[in-house]
């Protein structure tokens, strides 16, 4: 256990978890369909904007400016939010954040809170902490509700219940809704519209009676103190508008220098995320407004390992992530293993670079190897995080920390994902050759053939992305 949350207790390391996931044929079919659908939608709407590259450059630069002067911007944000009637809290780690939020809820005398999807509160395990204090947290995002009712874990940033099909969701609603509140209607079918209606009815009484809400934030503007939540279902608006008290838990890296910077991110995020020109609802609020919405607003600024990430000059770019999930949807490894295999709140390529940095490489040494370094994530990323570069950098650290060769770590991850005997055979052969020919001082240079993508370490920072990707496609299609 790390004290920082992020990773799930008792999760097997990536190679083992991936091997398990690969046995699940339906999971793989669901994932493939889902990732392909979102990928195509994203490409269509991104290509509508002929200055997409200029927007990405600008977004990356805004985030770079914010990161290099993070202390200044957070202090400015604190000042703006306070001036607008909000209260700012600072939490160095998960425990402190949980204590702050639990204390704020307890002070209201309420025993229930409604929540809108927030990866930061998942990361710190807030719900469990609240439960220990006798406070029930109701997840209100449809997918989060599915995950919560099923006592399950999210497997995708954007569609956390991507691993469940409609029949399973129907059964879950019919069996579990009653113990959390309003039961599912009699004779519930597995039509998505009927399931959404059941969720609407189930959560409505919670929204209308909730006095306290906990939310995440997509962005916060230092100059004005404006906080933004981008969503689709309207549960965000419910949580941000109807309760008396709003507690927003936000990673310190979410701060933007200026309100006007939203003009870049509100173009990039919906198109990269759900593949829409704009998501149904975006809420912006600044402190409190007399007579409208919560009259008490608390903003909790969370570090929890982010400053360790910031200290790494190569790894710090991962803090620019706006959680759009585009990198998951293009990743050949994610598509095969799903999100649970990463054992972290943050799955996929971004998880492979963020998780080891947040919790320490010793605990997660195999994660930076959960990639083919094909570069598709970098191409898709709206804030231009060079994920392959960070992965390569972290691999070197993993090797140093574990005292094992990159080859050994890479082979374990690769063997798990390249599950066909034929591919595995080829990989092993290549590894053996490469290992003999190239290993030196515990490091290896680059493995020839299919495995070279898995084995790049510090010695070979520039992956031959194109050739591996071509190889991968060809071999995948032949199967």
């Amino acid at each position: 256990m790390t004290g920082r949350g992020v990773v799930w207790l008792g999760s097997p390391p990536f190679p083992k978890a991936a091997r398990e996931a690969l046995k699940d044929g339906r999971l793989r079919a669901n994932l493939k369909r889902a990732t392909t659908t979102i990928r195509d939608k994203r490409l269509a709407v991104a290509s509508e904007l002929d200055d997409w590259e200029a927007l990405r450059e600008s977004a990356a630069a805004i985030k770079r400016r914010a990161a290099r002067h993070l202390d200044r911007y957070l202090l400015q944000l604190e000042e703006s939010v306070t001036a607008a009637g909000g209260t700012v809290h600072w939490a160095a780690d998960a425990d402190e954040a949980n204590r702050i939020v639990t204390g704020l809820v307890s002070a209201t005398g309420e025993r229930e809170v409604v929540k809108v999807k927030s990866m930061a509160t998942q990361e710190i395990g807030l719900n469990e902490h609240l439960a220990e204090a006798g406070i029930t947290a109701y997840e209100t995002d449809l997918a989060e509700l599915i995950v919560q009712l099923g006592d399950d874990r999210p497997s995708h940033i954007l569609v956390p219940a991507i691993h469940k099909n409609r029949g399973e969701i129907r059964d879950l609603f019919a069996a579990e809704m009653g113990s959390w509140g309003r039961p599912a209607p009699e004779g519930l079918t597995d039509e998505p519209a009927a399931l959404a209606e059941a969720a609407r009815l189930h959560l409505r009484e919670k929204f209308l009676s909730a006095k306290v809400a906990v939310s995440g934030a997509n962005f916060a503007c230092a100059d004005t103190g404006t906080v933004a939540v981008v969503e689709s279902e309207g549960n965000g608006r419910m949580c941000l508008t109807l309760p008396d008290t709003l507690i927003t838990v936000m990673g310190i890296e979410k701060v933007l220098p200026a309100f006007t910077d939203l003009e870049v991110f509100l173009q990039l995020l919906p198109r990269s995320s759900t593949g829409e020109r704009m998501n149904p609802y975006t809420s912006l609020w600044t402190g409190t407004t007399p007579g409208d919405g919560p009259q008490a607003f608390h903003l909790v600024l969370l570090d929890n390992g982010r400053t360790d990430t910031l200290a790494d000059e190569v790894g710090r770019q991962a803090l620019a992530c706006i959680r759009c999930s585009a990198c998951l949807n293009v990743c050949p490894v994610y598509e095969r293993t799903g999100g649970h295999a990463y054992g972290s709140v943050y799955p996929g390529p971004i998880g492979a670079v963020l998780t080891p940095q947040l919790v320490g490489i010793e605990q997660t040494a195999s994660l930076p190897f959960a990639s083919t370094l094909c570069g598709a994530c970098y191409d898709a990323c709206p804030v231009k995080i060079n994920i392959p570069e960070v992965l390569t950098h972290l691999r070197a650290e993993a090797v140093a920390a574990k005292g094992r060769s990159a080859e050994a770590l890479a082979m374990k991850a690769a063997a798990a994902v390249l599950d066909s005997p034929r591919l595995l055979g080829a990989a092993q052969k290549a590894a053996a050759l490469g290992g003999r020919a190239l290993a030196r001082g515990g490091h290896i240079g680059r493995l020839p053939g299919p495995l070279h993508g898995w084995s790049d370490s510090r010695d070979t920072p520039a992956p031959a992305a194109e050739s591996f990707r071509t190889w991968w496609r060809k071999n995948r299609e032949n199967r």
Partner: protein, 216 residues
């Protein structure tokens, strides 16, 4: 040390590589993107109408003289009879007939008992098909357009901005802002899009040429 001091100290230590004389403005931010994605001479209002309709919202275009009838037609089509009415909504626009207008202030349970809400908007965005509400006159508190299941929104054509940068520049960040792009939706179940989860399941938009102004 407080959490605040700890976090700030850690940040400063982590940024040891940043020269102490560097100012935020020294980090270059290129702004080479377009201020607008509309084409030269493009009909922004028509584009807005088309893009709103893409979200499966119903869009009507009318002028000042036809507005009352357009409102009546939308309400009739949807079968909405009991409606929330925000402060500052121009009375002369309300059609006569069997409609009940429930004026603000309205509590949440009261809103929950109504069929819908009728409001103005403070801005539109053509490229994304978005309406923006800032709780100003004729728009109501945020709950008014959230709790009832139907939202009829009237947007003056002159309020429609070409694109997001222009719209944001016109907005006042000190007000609560809600960007609405079609009815609420989810794709959480097998990625099948379902319109209408917690927000209004139906969104009707009426564009008025030239504009209308709220009552002061």
């Amino acid at each position: 040390m407080t959490g605040r001091e700890t976090v700030l100290a850690r940040i400063r230590a982590a940024l040891a590589d940043v020269p102490s004389e560097e100012r935020p403005d020294d980090v270059p931010v290129p702004r080479d993107y377009h201020r607008s994605h509309t084409g030269p001479g493009q009909d922004t209002v028509a584009l807005f109408a088309e893009r709103v309709a893409d979200y499966r919202a119903t869009v009507t275009r009318t002028d000042r003289a036809g507005l009352r009838d357009a409102i009546a037609a939308a309400l009739t089509r949807h079968g909405a009879r009991r409606l929330a009415l925000p402060s500052g909504f121009p009375d002369e626009l309300l059609p006569s007939g069997g409609w009940e207008w429930h004026a603000e202030p309205l509590g949440v349970p009261a809103l929950d008992g109504l069929d819908g809400a009728i409001t103005l908007a403070c801005a539109g965005i053509a490229i994304t098909g978005t309406i923006v509400l800032d709780t100003g006159p004729g728009q109501g508190r945020r709950a008014l357009t959230l709790v009832p299941d139907y939202h009829l929104c009237i947007v003056g054509a002159e309020l429609i901005a070409d694109d997001i940068p222009e719209a944001l520049a016109r907005l006042d960040p000190t007000r609560p802002l809600t960007f609405v792009s079609g009815p609420s939706a989810t794709s959480d179940i097998e990625l099948d899009r379902v319109e209408g989860v917690h927000g209004p399941r139906t969104l009707d938009v009426i564009i008025v040429d030239p504009g209308i102004s709220p009552q002061s």
